[in-house]
């Protein structure tokens, strides 16, 4: 055997190989589909028996599942799902292209080549169906020598046989080497017309394959025999019989060993075209004797298709493997496949195989197979088929997107995917055009999806016409299917620069932001330590000044500053209310101030209590609404000289002249309860109703607590008429007085003494008793004067220094 040197890798390859077994480079230029050439069909049916076991198992599973799913799938409406489309770039192709030859047939067609056999010009003669063409040919008539490409109009299963006449065969990738290995015999398989069948009135043509004697490769086909026996069982007829069971009456003319390899014809006919070309005399037989796959074709196709006389059927030349095509010429992968099952179990096969065996695809392919029989693909209308012609894809026709999908959906030929017909049926006498039914897209396997060209890439590429035509593989003859740009690189994501694309302005802004952030992170030194020192010294100076001046004024007990004798209205009302109180009455004194303001409150309260005790000698009941206030009662009475013994004081004694009820908790709630029921709130109060008190005196430095008492007492007065004449007298601090002034104006408060100023006047009118306010009066005046002077001077100084500092800062930029 002569070796062919690979033009790419330079390694030697057997001459029967079309592609290099090392680099897959085409070894023979004619094995490639060149630009402008049409894809041709290839018949790989004879390779079935030598398929690996795992693939055969897949077929068995497909057969089992096909029958179950065929019915429901056929009943389902044809939904145009759009699975991941491998050939999305072919959308723009014309619609009529969809009605052309099935994709899988186009893919396996060998490349069109001029042949030495010339066929007579086709005669447009309408016939009932495709097989009616066989009726025209006479028994024993030798097929005319056709010169034009046979495969253009020949179905794949016939094209495979017709291809055997060619000197150079175009084979698909899957079966290229297998065909070479098996095709050792130069003699073609001859199909003879079964005259007996036709004489019996059978419409279906019957053929007899006459295959010349070929050397039998016993050692190579032993495993094929075993496979055949195991698949058919003892009930199957002899080896040649299954090959020609679609042609009843045909007599096997080959040795049984060689004919066993033709079992694929049983299943081949199911999904392939009935049209055939014959290189040997072909005689039509009755259709009732047609194989069951022809019957399947007829089922569901009621539309008549014109039939035309076809060239005599020339089966593909196959030959058993001889010594030359033995192990040394067998690829490595097939060696492993034949020796030991190298593939996973059928159950673990990829989804690709499962999808390939689904009945819908089979039906789809079957419908498409009938297309070229009844339609002129180039014209898109039914035309009678001519003898010697077989439907083939048009030269300029481009497949649609769905066609390409179906191409991959029917990844395996039908003889692989379709179950072997078990019973013979009437072959279809009429074929039907597929109509407008589109091919159902199928789920592509993952690796096919990965190979799918990106639409953007396709759109960027040139038009379909400008793109090269595929020369080999399942896409042979197609144009523009695979983009020019490498798919891998097109699917690769674009490389984006990690560098941030920013303008100069943005970069400058980012720089400023970085500076600001860096400045925030750096600790700032305190730049004004001397200023802080001066502030602290100023505070100490102010404190020392006030202590010295006011201390001196208190120590000297000066009374140089006069006090106005004019009493405010609120103070006058208090004085009048105290005067109007009955003697020895009970008076409630609410102590509600903090120790911090005890000095002011004692000075404010002193004249009021002094007048009250002096005039009526009432029984004072002290109630504190602040926790610390209860402890201030005795201090208050002592400082106001009420509890001091006579003659300096008024000799009020605790428990006899005054009572300290203590602290009343609860805030406004406690006030409410005490107002409603004093005995309930403070059992030691000794009174059951608030009206038992002749007056209520509120000593407060807090406007909130004073408001509570005013509001609760006023609400109680509205309910209890006995409280209508009960005066409410308020002695408030200077800070609480303005907030309680509205209650005085609304007469909810009878009278109010607020602050040292009112207390000094009240005390002055009350004959300067007890003298606390007067003692504070000069110091109060000096303190206010100092405060006014300091605030004024300090404010002017601060204003000047502030302006200078701002000017300095402005000058410094």
């Amino acid at each position: 055997m002569a070796d062919i040197r690979c033009p790419s890798c330079g390694k030697n390859n057997p001459d029967f190989l079309d592609v290099c077994q090392f680099c897959q480079t085409p070894l023979k230029p004619e094995s490639m589909v060149h630009t402008g050439e049409n894809p041709v069909k290839k018949n790989t049916g004879e390779l079935e028996p030598i398929l690996p076991q795992w693939l055969r198992d897949v077929r068995q599973q497909a057969r089992a599942s096909a029958e179950e799913n065929a019915a429901e799938e056929a009943a389902k409406p044809k939904v145009q799902k759009e699975p991941p489309d491998l050939l999305a770039g072919l959308v723009s192709q014309t619609r009529e292209d969809e009605d052309e030859i099935p994709d899988w047939l186009a893919s396996i067609n060998p490349s069109t080549k001029p042949r030495s056999i010339e066929a007579p010009p086709p005669e447009p003669k309408p016939e009932k169906d495709f097989f009616a063409k066989f009726d025209i040919s006479k028994p024993g008539q030798t097929a005319p020598q056709v010169d034009e490409p046979i495969q253009e109009d020949v179905p794949s299963w016939m094209a495979g046989a017709a291809d055997s006449m060619q000197v150079h065969e175009e084979k698909d990738e899957l079966s290229a080497w297998l065909a070479q290995a098996s095709a050792e015999s130069d003699k073609p398989i001859e199909l003879e017309f079964d005259g007996a069948s036709q004489m019996a009135g059978v419409d279906q043509p019957s053929f007899t394959i006459k295959q010349p004697e070929t050397p039998k490769a016993e050692e190579d086909l032993g495993w094929l025999h075993a496979l055949e026996d195991s698949s058919k069982g003892p009930a199957q007829p002899s080896a040649p019989q299954p090959d020609l069971n679609w042609a009843p009456g045909a007599e096997p003319s080959q040795p049984s060993a060689g004919q066993e390899d033709l079992n694929w014809l049983n299943t081949l006919g199911v999904a392939s075209e009935p049209a055939a070309q014959e290189s040997t005399p072909v005689q039509s037989v009755p259709q009732t004797d047609s194989p069951d796959w022809l019957t399947n074709l007829d089922v569901g196709h009621g539309m008549e298709a014109p039939s035309a006389p076809v060239a005599p059927f020339v089966p593909r030349r196959t030959a058993p493997l001889d010594e030359k095509s033995s192990a040394d010429s067998m690829p490595d992968w097939l060696k492993s496949a034949t020796e030991e099952p190298s593939m996973p179990a059928p159950g673990a096969l990829s989804d690709w195989f499962r999808e390939a065996d689904k009945p819908p695809r089979f039906d789809q392919a079957q419908r498409e197979l009938s297309t070229p029989q009844s339609f002129d693909l180039t014209q898109g209308k039914p035309v009678p088929l001519e003898q010697g012609d077989a439907p083939a894809p048009a030269e300029s026709a481009s497949l649609s997107n769905q066609d390409i999908d179906s191409l991959f959906s029917v990844t395996m030929p039908d003889w692989l995917s379709h179950p072997e017909p078990g019973a013979e049926g009437a072959p279809p006498s009429k074929v039907e055009a597929p109509g407008d039914e589109a091919i159902t897209p199928v789920d592509l396997p993952a690796w096919v999806q990965a190979m799918r060209p990106v639409e953007s890439v396709i759109s960027e590429t040139a038009s379909v016409e400008n793109q090269p035509t595929e020369r080999e593989g399942p896409l042979a003859g197609l144009r523009g299917v695979i983009p020019i740009a490498p798919i891998g690189s097109s699917r690769r994501p674009k490389a984006f620069s990690l560098k941030l694309q920013a303008s100069d302005e943005q970069q400058s802004a980012a720089g400023i932001l970085e500076k600001i952030l860096a400045g925030e992170m750096n600790p700032r030194p305190l730049a004004t330590p001397a200023f802080v020192t001066s502030q602290r010294a100023l505070r100490w100076a102010l404190s020392g000044l006030f202590i010295l001046v006011l201390g001196a004024m208190i120590f000297l007990q000066t009374q140089s500053m006069p006090i106005s004798a004019a009493l405010p209205v609120e103070v006058s009302n208090i004085s009048q209310a105290i005067v109007s109180l009955p003697p020895n009455s009970s008076v409630l004194v609410v102590v509600d101030y903090e120790p911090a303001l005890a000095g002011e409150m004692e000075a404010v309260t002193g004249p009021l209590l002094d007048q009250l005790v002096l005039l009526g000698r009432p029984r004072l009941t002290f109630l504190a609404t602040s926790p610390n206030s209860s402890a201030l009662v005795d201090r208050l009475l002592a400082n106001t000289k009420i509890s001091l013994p006579a003659p300096n004081g008024l000799d009020y004694k605790a428990g006899e002249n005054y009572f300290n009820l203590g602290y009343l908790p609860g805030g406004s709630s406690g006030v409410l309860e005490f107002v409603e029921s004093p005995a309930s709130a403070i059992p030691s109060a000794g009174v059951h109703n608030l009206s038992e008190y002749a007056a209520v005196i509120l000593l407060t430095d807090h406007a909130e607590s004073g408001r509570n008492w005013v509001e609760q007492l006023d609400a109680r007065k509205r309910i209890d008429p006995s409280l209508a004449n009960q005066p409410l007298l308020v002695a408030a601090s200077a800070q609480a007085g303005p907030l309680l002034q509205p209650y005085v104006s609304s007469r909810q408060v009878t009278g109010m003494v607020s602050g040292l100023s009112d207390a000094a006047r009240y005390e002055f009118v009350n004959n300067s008793r007890p003298g606390i306010a007067r003692a504070y009066w000069d110091s109060f005046g000096v303190g206010l004067l100092m405060a006014i002077a300091l605030i004024a001077a300090g404010s002017m100084w601060s204003l000047i220094t502030g302006i200078r500092a701002r000017r300095a800062e402005a000058g410094a930029g």
């Binding site: 006069p562 120790p595 204003l799």
Partner: protein, 203 residues
């Protein structure tokens, strides 16, 4: 539980509120009971506050944090004062001495410091910010202090007018505050009555 607390709070508020409008003896009694409960709870709240103060200071002492010495002095003084107050009563001279010698001078000193601080802040105000409000505030404060300031010559001329004029603003402001407080209190009460606000818990 949340529903129960809300219902109890609303019913309590309604009972107390209705007591202002309807003088029903049973309602008044129920109102007194609820108020008494509130007073007792408030009294316990003071004790809880005292115990919390002790706990915080004791934790500072245990962990030897900064100022734990002052915390120890506080806790010790509190315990001693509380013990003497229970034993001797608030009328005891020792308790009066504690108030007169410690509490009142300390708080009075704080008020004096406050006065000095206010004077100092007024002096520094125009250095910090020179605007109309700052100048107006300082001017009004100085004029009002001058108006109430006793002098050896009696009150300054026009002081009474200034006091009345300034008092008009202060009284107006005080009334506005009181009205705002009243409306806010009313709204708060209604929200509590309608369970919109649940200060007693339960969001």
């Amino acid at each position: 539980m949340r529903v129960f607390t809300a219902a109890f709070a609303i019913s309590s508020g309604l009972i107390v509120l209705l007591g202002y409008f309807f003088q029903i003896p049973a309602l008044m009694q129920l109102r007194l009971i609820l108020t008494d409960w509130a007073i007792v709870i408030a009294g316990f709240a003071v004790l809880i506050g005292i115990f919390n103060l002790i706990a915080v200071q004791m934790e500072k002492i245990r962990t030897r944090q900064k100022g734990s010495v002052f915390g120890a002095a506080l806790v010790l003084s509190l315990i001693v004062t509380f013990g003497f107050g229970l034993l001797l009563g608030p009328e005891d001279p020792f308790m009066r001495l504690a108030v007169d010698a410690v509490i009142v001078p300390v708080e009075a000193a704080l008020m004096a410091i406050l006065a000095v601080t206010l004077i100092y802040a007024s002096m520094r105000l125009l250095r910090r910010r020179v605007d109309l409000m700052s100048v107006l505030f300082l001017t009004v404060a100085v004029i009002f202090l001058a108006a109430i300031m006793p002098t050896p010559f009696g009150q300054l001329l026009g002081s009474q007018f200034i006091i009345d004029f300034a008092g008009m603003f202060s009284r107006g402001g005080a009334r506005g505050l009181l009205l705002g407080i009243a409306l806010g209190t009313l709204l708060t009460g209604l929200r509590v009555l309608f369970a919109i606000d649940r200060p007693y818990g339960g969001n």
